[in-house]
Amino acid sequence: MELFLCALVLILAGGSLGLVLRGRTGRLAGPLGILAGSGLGLVAVLRLLARQEYPRLDLAWGLPVGSFSLGFDPLTLLFLLPCFGLGLACPLYGLGALAHEPERKVRSHWFFFSLLVAGLALVAVARDGFCFLLAWEVMSLSPFFLVSFADEKLEVREAAWTYLVASHLGVLALVAMFAWLAGAAGSTHFDALAWAAPQLAHTWPLFLLALAGFGAKAGLAPLHVWLPEAHPAAPSHVSAFMSGALITAGMYGVARILVLLGPGPAWWGGLLLGLGLLSALLGLAQGLAQGQMKRLLAYSSVENAGIVFLGLGAAHLAARGGLAPAALLAAAGALLHVLNHALFKGLLFLGAGAVLHGAGTVEISSLGGLLKRMPRTGALFLAGTAALAALPPFNGFFSELLIYLGLGQAGMGLRSAGSLAAWGGMAGLALAGGLALAALAKAFGLAFLGEPRTPAATRAHDPGRAELAAMLLLALGCAGMGLAAPWLVTVLAPAAAQVAHLPGMAALDAARDAQSLLRTVLVAALPLPVLGLFLWALRRRLLAGRPVGSSPTWDCGYARPAATMQYGPASFADPLASALGPASGIQHDLARPQGLFPRRAWHRVAAPDLVLDAVFRPAFGAALWAAEHLKWLQHGRIPLYVLSILAALVAVLAWVLA
């Protein structure tokens, strides 16, 4: 506990010192404080995980409500890992990326970054509803300032507002949920809440409120609208932290509420599974059509949040059906996926940042051939895509495998509707896996392979040492987590048992079974990278000592081939988009060449966000309309304002006391 508190103090001190100090020290104080604090925090968390110690701290803080209660349990420790892990990589990247930005902006940037990291860590350890909400507010507000770093651009300001509105609508639901629960419990402490929740007549409104509030943060469809706006607008290391660590706060919230509310009815699991599936498929269908790399990655975050919720839902369903092993597999898979997603999505966003820095744009239609120009970034980005597309032996494969296994066991063991849901989830997950591969083949293939489409892409170059080190750290994490996956299952088992309300012994048995299974799979998957290495070595050997030249590809006799004739983002997405049909929300705009000497022809594919356009824009338009029409209330006559206060006061007193 002391080590953890020291880490928090270090992080906050770094950010605050950066505000006060000038010059080089002022620039460095923030990121160095966050790096040191995150490192220390990571050590603290790993020590507690290894020793299976769960210390607590309760302090009165002089406020009329709540208390400063912190505590650890398996779930908390697990969710602290992405926070501190990305807290090590992202500031390292930002250190290099922001080196040439104006000092004033950089200093306040690091201040808010430190608030974000500390707030996120506090959210995970808070053991009091009021304390939790305060930490949640700090964590939710600071990204607004981080996203609006390049605030001279209109779209960045709009994205920051979208984020702020979305996150505050979420907070509204959370405040209502905690107030309701605390009203029943008579205290805001989590222990009291957990004690009071099973005695309530209805807990489902609380669950739905929590799902709305936490789901909005996690990027669960249909509340994901802020992700595709905010992630592209933010500096890349901020996108990486938000996508890898911030959205896990939403997942943590749902997991925590499942623990607090006690074992709920089975339909909760069905709902989680269904919403997860919706997020996964919607996120990919929309992501596939995006021409902007960071937007594509943001939609992929929606997809991965969907996979996590799908796993949690399956675990809940299986646990209520009495299938402890299946529940453990699904829950462990979901939790492992949280960690994995933090690593590979962090890596990919940093990679996208490197592309933005090197080539000046992340519009895929302007890139191409980057692998030759930025080989290190390309290799690291490839590792990230392989992990995200769940290719063995990278980490993404193992978490999805665990969820598949859990779904399969649940499908076989459950009856009627539950079984149907599990098999449906499995089929949907498989479809999502295929689509993810296509989306990432697009992101990597079109940007890094082929020939550069613009002069800017021709001049692209690798970023500096700090940026590469940050990406390497995360790529090593991806590979390491993949190799360690069989052993991680047992580490995750206590947290998984906590979420699914499983008895400890059953969880341990199931975890041991899963471990031996995963070990077999790992051994079977290892030849794949070995084969890759062999082919690479063979090519080198065959080419050694021979002249290697480059010439245009065979061009069907066409006299003037150009780089723009390569497959573009639209042509790549088109076959899949037409297969998916209009439900994917992908729009085509095709003008065919006409006549013998065609002048103009184009093919554009766009995917404006379905939910944003169908639900949120009209809703906010209506709110604006109502506000405009209520302006007569703001007449500006002060005596009338006071009169209304007086009338309200008298009316309330008369009503209450009569």
């Binding site: 703001q634 007449h635 500006g636 006559r637 002060i638 005596p639 009338l640 006071v642 009169l643 206060i645 007086l646 006061l649 008298v650 007193l653 006391l657 009569a658």
Partner: protein, 215 residues
């Protein structure tokens, strides 16, 4: 000292009604001062025990100095420097204002009979007097045009709240009451400055002109 409580309360209510019915600004300010002085005396009269303790004396002296002397002087000076017209300029007539004051008194009497606060034994007339001051002040805020009369209305409201707290005065709470008094002092000074600003911006301190500030 307790014998004086009821006459003081009656006087306070009368001063309140007077505040609502006077026509000249000078009298309005003077009556606000009188209300402050009565409040200071009420604190002494309401003090527990046969003889007021020293801390009650300090508080009463502070109230007298600030509310009975400093505020009227300050408000009169503001009036003089701004060359205000001598009349109060209400939105509603004086008779109607007085009626509103009487309604406030009746409502306060009714409230006093309904609102029983457990563990607190108030002298019988204190509750109506305090609440009449409060509602009367609010009525002044609503019904007068000049920003300066709004300050007087605010003071009357504050006096009502202060009076309500007076019987619960214990050793520790004196400091809090003094702190509140200091806050009110600062508030009135700020209001004075704001009134000057308003005058400079609008060439008048008619609050009706504020509606041009809406967007």
């Amino acid at each position: 000292m307790h014998a004086f409580v009821e006459p003081l309360m009656v006087l306070l209510v009368l001063v309140n009604l007077g505040l609502l019915s006077v026509r000249r600004m000078a009298w309005c300010i003077r009556l606000a001062g009188v209300q402050g002085a009565l409040l200071g005396l009420a604190i002494l009269a309401l003090a527990p025990g046969a003889e007021p303790e020293p801390h009650v004396w300090y508080l009463a002296a502070a109230v007298l100095a600030i509310k009975a002397l400093a505020f009227p002087m300050f408000l009169r000076r503001t009036m003089r420097t701004l060359h205000l017209r001598a009349w109060v300029e209400p939105y509603i007539g004086y008779g109607l204002s007085l009626l509103a004051g009487l309604a406030a008194l009746l409502f306060s009497l009714w409230l006093g009979s309904r609102l029983a606060i457990p563990g607190l034994h108030l002298p019988p007339l204190l509750f109506p007097a305090a609440f009449t001051a409060f509602f009367g002040g609010l009525t002044m805020l609503v019904s007068r045009k000049k920003a300066l009369t709004q300050v007087v209305g605010f003071l009357a409201m504050e006096n009502g709240i202060f009076l309500f707290g007076a019987p619960t005065l214990a050793w520790g709470s004196t400091w809090m009451e003094l702190a509140v008094l200091l806050d009110v002092l600062v508030a009135v000074f700020v209001m004075g400055i704001v009134v000057h600003r308003i005058d400079r911006t609008f060439d008048s301190i008619d609050v009706g002109l504020f509606c041009s500030l809406r967007d």
